[in-house]
């Protein structure tokens, strides 16, 4: 499995449709304080199936909808799409045969949630199942959040197991 690109529209400060193409090797993301770098991290965690809005600095998912700025009005929904290269068929489950998988997550201002895999509506569970056992599920540590680097060392010995169970 390889990540191809992430697309966001109406997600936090990314009002306009924005596309991040993932390169092989090391990609650096830079910019001044508050410009939106960690918001990209939040978008990725969200589309991978993060269930706690608090983990993404919100009280609920509705907080992730672009709330307006200057002359720009608040938007009606937030949407994030992750496009995955599955040509090695490492994804288990009903989508194992697809060479490319697109996962989309949306939240509307009235709180309505929508989930899609390859444009077909599904449940959040179906999205989370795609990433189970890939190292990219919520149990893994593939996304190290700002300021949380100490979390593994500060955790209780029992809490650290998730990291090892994911690799085993």
């Amino acid at each position: 499995m390889r990540f191809k690109r992430l697309e966001m529209v109406g997600f936090k400060s990314f009002a306009d449709r924005t596309r991040v193409d993932f390169q092989p090797g090391v990609t650096a993301i830079v910019g001044p304080n508050g410009c939106g770098k960690s918001n990209v991290s939040d978008a990725l965690r969200w589309v991978l199936g993060e269930q706690s809005a608090h983990q993404l600095r919100g009280d609920s998912a509705v907080d992730f909808i672009f709330k307006g700025a200057g002359k720009r009005k608040m938007m009606g929904l937030a949407e994030v799409t992750l496009t995955i290269d599955n040509s090695d068929h490492s994804v288990a489950g009903p989508f194992a045969d697809f060479a490319e998988i697109q996962v989309t997550r949306r939240v509307h201002r009235d709180g309505e949630r929508e989930y899609f895999i390859n444009k077909v509506p599904c449940r959040l569970k179906d999205i989370r199942d795609i990433f189970m056992d890939t190292g990219m599920s919520g149990r893994g540590v593939a996304i190290l959040q700002q300021g949380h680097i100490d979390a593994i060392l500060n955790a209780k010995p029992e809490e650290r197991r998730a990291l090892f169970d994911e690799a085993a």
């Binding site: 390889r2 910019g31 209780k156």
Partner: protein, 165 residues
Amino acid sequence: SRERFITTFEQIDHHFGELFTALFEGGQAKLHLLDPDNPLESGIEITAQPPGKKNGSINLLSGGEKALTTLALIFSTYRVRPAPFCLLDEVDAPLDDANVGRFNRLLRTMAISTQFTAITHNKSTMEAADALYGITMAEPGVSSLIAVHLEEEPQLAMGEAVAVG
């Protein structure tokens, strides 16, 4: 499954010790099962001793030492089972110049089997990257992403990156 966990655990421990010693240019670190008779439920303890220092609780380690120890642990699981993708948000913030260099050299070896995205304010980390994206708010409150090309006109690109960073 119990055997598989123990085998994986020992492999991770092996790599953890190696990566720690590489990142710290010395010293030693180890993982321990608190309850070896019950490996599938047992908590996991970490001991880490930077070079020249006596062993102690990992709580006494410095901010930078804790960051490097955590990175050694996470990357040791990747050596056993690479994650396809990893996003690091300002993990280099507590590191001094020498350790940023060591971290980035390690990142480049790990990047053979994992796509890394590193959010950073650090110039050396930017220079070590293969690709660079800048995020700006030319319109207040609205983020936009620009690809900064490192191979073409690297001085100009770095200038842009420095200006935005």
